[in-house]
Symmetry: C2
Subunit: 385 residues, 2 copies
């Protein structure tokens, strides 16, 4: 066990680093860094749980070939490397030889606190935290980056309090701000998708869930989903058009990114809009249709056949700009809702808990990099140390 | 000569019709229709000139195979038909067997006027008109659809007062409303592109012109264009990035639609934005980049490789919704500017003048359907009758 040392200049902390190296290798390693002592408005959090979200995998693994991973170093301080193609290496230009800490969110116990009342109030509390580098033993964070968990909630309960819950709430918020009344969501059996389904059911918002397979359809139906369309069905386009017409969905959030799917959603929205068309218009319907790409599960190009008139848009969507748009008060309200519904609407489930050392094992990397439905990994940075 | 009859119920007028027929043929023919006598706020305009704009060709020709066109009927009243593929026929479902009049804009002389002062004021005047069905001898139109031309301007001078001038002004207006400071434009040697170039030079707005060929580059340079990038150059992407960085353009208008070009513009905008990046961000720059597709010269799918972070959008753009957004007062101001600069900034040049009968000749259709640079056709509906 490597103990974390507390000194005048800070606390020693083991931290997972991902480094794209000039020699063409992507390297994962554990470094010992020093977290500074908390300032007046800061707290030191012992990170007990941090999820591996799809949004962490890009920074963590890049697009290296992890099937060809090689391990070196010692059992308790291993290093794992995987080769990158020349094209991937080029895309990494801005991070070459810079060790990147990883992990957008987590939860743990406040073990030290700065002088301010806000910081002192958190001492001993279990908090959810947002801010990067969460695959670390300790993190010194501003009180604004912490969300005090309700009594009885563990670090594992609160580890995913930000990314998925706020993304689901951000989709609903975007829908409301941009004047749409229902949603289409792809990769809808994901942890996020299941959460969005619970949220829409609770808030009485129409949701069309798109999945690839029968098991995913059944999973969502068991959770009460009203509209589930399967891309592997020969009637997919008809089914989607029907569900879009029924719900009035004119906004989609797509986690896939590549291929025809985003365009197919627009095609079905246009077909639904034209059901009530009274005259031919060569520019299509005047119903505005939007699909946001928030993920890139398929890295291949997005292909748009543009058979949906002229009133459409496609673009990238990220949580951070949405939070900036709504302002601090609205953001605070969203966080309070997450805390209040942490064990219901916003509950996350993990299939595996792994230590920092286990996160570097090739077979474990192979498993969590798959992003399979129902497989979600929780890193426990203080386990086994 | 077929004279136009004026009766109690209206004026007989020859009108070009495009009909997608259930049997799989697209048909162009001349029909005799009755234009109603003008109401109080209406005027009867003898259409002396109406351009064939790219935006007219979709309705006029569909996607039929005009290389296999067949002529029937008489010399003075011909009918021309061309076969459509099953897929094209399906896309025409909403207009099957409905004769569609064509021609978005034109100009001519007011030969009758309603009782209102506004209508009477136009009597005898040469006016530019907007409102469809302009490949007609006569059109009864509301005074709001007419723009009185300055003294000395002919119908040919004023025939293209709306579509191209307002589109160019609409691009600038969209840029201003959406917070961009410079523009990228594709197919930039088109009549519209040359007009946009003159407008941007006059208004001191940065414009990056994208063209396919050396002749088009030279044409724009001779007109004073500062930035011209050629897609046939091996340094196209570097050239475009440089021009985008110099102008600060974060908004593009693309007439091509299909293929990689819209995405390439975003790629170069992102590369320009990242020139000043201080740290690696896996989500790309925070600079918002937008490309609007306003045409579809390439009907193939739009291909987006998404190597430009998350702050981007692509969508359709049409003049009409823009005009609705800005409201009547701003629209009126734009029209007045067009009238004031009709022979300078907004001048259009025609390579050919054709009658309604000539517009139906296969060799003429073959020529104007090519949309070649420098080839612009003017229909003169009262010529040769």
């Amino acid at each position: 066990m490597r103990a974390a040392m507390n000194t005048k200049t800070g606390r020693s902390s083991l931290q997972l680093h991902s480094t794209a190296k000039k020699n063409g290798e992507m390297e994962l390693s554990l470094a010992t860094v020093t977290e500074p002592n908390p300032g007046p408005d800061e707290v030191m959090v012992r990170i007990d749980a941090a999820p591996i979200n799809p949004s962490d995998l890009g920074l963590l693994l890049g697009a290296a070939d992890w099937n060809s991973a090689k391990v070196s170093g010692t059992r308790s301080n291993p290093t794992v490397t995987a080769p990158m193609s020349a094209k991937v290496l080029q895309a990494m230009a801005a991070r070459i030889d810079i060790p990147m800490p990883v992990g957008n969110e987590g939860a743990g116990v406040v073990i030290e606190a700065g002088k301010s009342d806000a910081a002192q109030a958190l001492l001993g509390k279990t908090v959810a935290v947002l801010g990067g580098a969460m695959y670390s033993q300790y993190r010194c964070l501003n009180v604004n980056q912490c969300l005090s968990l309700p009594p009885g909630a563990t670090a594992a309960d609160g580890a995913s309090s930000f990314v998925n819950p706020l993304t689901a709430l951000g989709m609903i918020g975007t829908m409301q701000r941009e004047g749409h009344k229902a949603l289409v969501h792809t990769a809808a059996a994901s942890n996020l998708g299941q959460m969005l389904n619970r949220l829409c059911l609770k808030d009485h918002i129409g949701l069309v869930n798109i999945v690839r397979k029968k098991e995913q359809e059944e999973l969502l139906q068991a959770a009460g989903a009203v509209h589930v369309c399967r891309t592997d069905s020969p009637t997919f386009m008809q089914d989607l058009t029907e569900a879009v017409a029924t719900t009035g969905a004119t906004l989609g959030f797509d986690a896939i990114g590549g291929g025809p799917l985003a365009g197919q959603i627009l095609t079905c929205m246009e077909a639904a809009a034209n059901r009530n068309a009274k005259a031919y218009s060569r520019y299509g319907s005047t119903t505005y249709k939007q699909v946001y790409l928030y993920g890139s599960l398929d890295m291949s190009p997005t292909v748009l056949n543009r058979n949906y008139g002229m009133a459409w848009g496609i673009g990238g969507w990220l949580l951070t700009p949405f939070i900036e748009k709504i302002g601090p008060a609205a953001f605070q309200a969203l966080k309070q809702r997450v805390a209040a519904e942490l064990k219901t609407t916003f509950a996350s489930h993990y299939s595996q808990e792994i230590s920092l050392v286990e996160a570097l094992q090739p077979e474990t990397i192979a498993a969590y990099s798959k992003r399979s439905t129902g497989q979600k990994y929780l890193v426990t940075p203080n386990k086994g140390l």
